[in-house]
Symmetry: C2
């Protein structure tokens, strides 16, 4: 796949035969970063360079390399795992998952059922792991991604910030009804000023800010540029956020906007005196027996890109998801209050979610920076552009984590070949 | 200590009462980065920012923070420790070391003997560890440096590249008499073209290149800028190196020039097909039970700053030094051929070293990117500006590792309060 893609951090073109259906499988194989030799050579030839300054880090297919190598592209802060022992994930591999078949949702580009194995290629998967009752039943890596790879999580990062915020609300350190302008005075005159913390957590703020990944001039590009991930004025995320204006009525409807999470990160930092990096380390990475340090990209002022800058391994995401599946405690240690887990699972108001028009997510909601299905299994999920995911299915006792580098940004492009796969494997595992 | 220091990556002013003698002790306390709040705040106030773009990362006292936080400042590549177990360092702390006294060398600024404890402040130490017969007998951290801190190693990095080069020569993969221009054709027309690999390894190349740390216009500044560590044209180290011209006769005399190590890194990469990051991981970090991943700073083309860009923990440096002290094998595993260790210990030609005029290092030599004392204990050492060090004393069965952030660059500024300290503690430990 040699089509030239525009160079903008989150911009992605419209779907075509290389991004959907059988053509996507061929394109995934052709774009395998291990075949392209990105950044290989002493030094790499000019056409193999991947960098932020010319936007190539976000161009397809280069991003299939960059998503596994972000610390090589920008300054990062380490989410320390500490000196404790690794919590071993038992392995009970199933060889019958690759052959599972399922029928994709409409607009997948496939005419009929496809296999689980084919779906991984169709989704430009970099890594996928399925835990059932705490054991690894499936684990696969593609391209330049492996078990130790700290892969960009994009908006899966949000769910870490959201969970911590919900914990601080639950313990009373934060009041979910507090106004953002009171919590962070620098935001008082911005569109966030009279929004509540809860509205930020659930993304029901009303803002003059576009998250349209198909527009190269959307505000999300300005956010990512301020964070230092796209070429331009790296002013720092906390210099950018106060410029966002209000448009409409806070609390009326869910609208997915990454800037909310960066406001949340600012609130957490101001309230606790600890950076998001430190909080994620102390709340999760030092407690869950993680295999590897994680990281955040940081801007010119040292602030994390809270809405999308975290990198972690596939297995460490699974350890986090498994703790959630178990109700917030693992190996006798309470990590997250049960009330917070229950609150995530109950979700937000589907009536406020529906107008956003996510055709692949009917009846869903958004709560504490998690996407909540309201399905019979009570599934909820962390989702990041281009295929990052933590999927928790409490009824099937299953957690799926996935890393990806899809040519298109929005999950709606690959939900049709993903969501039915999770259902199929859940039912398969429940059959024993 | 609030004196303004010029902002250039390696430039350091002339010695004064804040850098030598009792005034240095007071300045070390006043410049403790934990007291200054560098990069603290949500976001940090303007006068607490530390960054590459304005040179503040290298300004004193900001560098007391930046040396412990380099991955937050620039892109880095991870030197993976792998998934193996940590090799525990036995602890047998001695409480009698702090009170040891010794007489500094001339020009220390002290009129008489000082204590070991005072010397650590006088040297702006960030961390120091003494191993005796493999056990930790002394370990101290200062400022923002701790056991898990990956601290900038500066030219201690060179000794890793040099050891690997010596190993490849010993096994016959590289010919030490090969010409650089044949090994890396891009350098054929440069001053390195007709130098031998051995001359590069031992820094007896003759080049129109100044390493003078007291000159803000020295060539070392151009090298560090090309590497992306100082503001300016980040052209990439391997775009810069071919511009260095010859001046004199290769092989005639030792002249310390960091660019040699970056040529060496290029030769290693071209020869093995593996980056320095990968080589250090495979040769050492995956084999020695290191506690933490290390890292290299990398430039806009993904090339490491081989001459000074490595960061690692104090303890992991000690694990490396202990392996060398034991003759290259540890726990029954051969890491470095005994012949290479012996070659380092024998050193280079002191007659070629003497003209360089290191008054604190009489009778010394330089071999395989190590500084060799030719003293009665056969000590050799890796040295980095501002206080980074691995010291191996085979006779005393002692290894000392030190991290520092001295206001002056060159080791000659703090050798007077360091070298006699190593002798004093060696004699003390040998007495039992």
């Amino acid at each position: 796949m040699t089509k030239t893609r525009p160079h903008s951090a989150v911009f992605s073109p419209t779907p075509d035969s290389h991004t959907h259906g059988p053509g996507a499988i061929a394109a995934a194989i052709a774009s395998d970063p291990a075949r392209h030799g990105w950044m290989e050579g002493a030094p790499p030839p000019a056409d193999r360079l991947v960098r932020i300054s010319d936007g190539s880090a976000w161009a397809f297919p280069q991003l299939r390399w960059s998503f596994s190598n972000f610390r090589r592209l920008v300054p990062t802060a380490e989410v320390a795992r500490g000196a404790g022992p690794v919590r071993t994930l038992p392995v009970a591999l199933r060889d019958d998952i690759d052959a599972l078949t399922f029928t994709p949702l409409p607009n997948s580009g496939f005419a009929g059922p496809i296999s689980w194995a084919d779906s991984l290629l169709a989704n430009f998967t970099d890594g996928i792991l399925v835990l059932h009752r705490g054991s690894i039943v499936y684990e696969r890596y593609f391209g330049v991604t492996g078990p130790a790879t700290r892969h960009m999580l994009m908006s899966v990062s949000k769910s870490f910030a959201g969970t911590i915020a919900a914990m601080l609300v639950a313990e009373g350190t934060l009041d979910e009804d507090a106004l953002v302008g009171a919590l962070v005075p620098e935001l008082a005159a911005s569109g966030f000023g009279d929004a509540t913390l809860r509205q930020v957590m659930d993304m029901t703020t009303a803002l003059a800010y576009s998250e349209d990944y198909t527009s190269p001039t959307a505000d999300i590009v300005n956010l990512v540029t301020a964070c230092g991930l796209s070429p331009g004025d790296e002013k720092g995320v906390r210099a950018y956020l106060p410029s966002i204006a209000k448009a409409g009525t806070h609390g009326a409807a869910f609208t997915y906007r990454t800037c909310n999470t960066d406001v949340l990160a600012w609130i957490l930092h101001r309230t606790t005196g600890k950076s998001l990096t430190t909080l994620v380390s102390e709340y999760f990475w030092q407690k869950l027996g993680m295999e590897e340090d994680a990281s955040y990209t940081i801007d010119s002022h040292g602030s994390e890109f809270g809405g999308g800058g975290m990198s972690a391994t596939l297995r460490d995401l699974a350890r986090f998801g498994e703790m959630l599946r178990l109700g917030g405690a693992i190996d006798g240690q309470r990590i997250v209050p049960k009330a917070v887990i229950d609150d995530i699972g109950r979700g937000g108001d589907p009536a406020k979610f529906a107008p956003a028009g996510y055709t692949t997510l009917p009846g869903w909601s958004y709560r504490n920076q998690w996407w909540v299905s309201h399905d019979a299994h009570g599934c909820y999920t962390a989702r990041g552009v281009r295929g990052q995911m933590i999927w928790v299915d409490p009824v099937a006792e299953m957690v799926i984590t996935r890393l990806g580098s899809h040519p298109l940004a929005g999950n709606g492009n690959f939900d049709p070949t993903s969501l039915p796969a999770w259902t199929a494997v859940a039912e398969h595992l429940m059959r024993g």
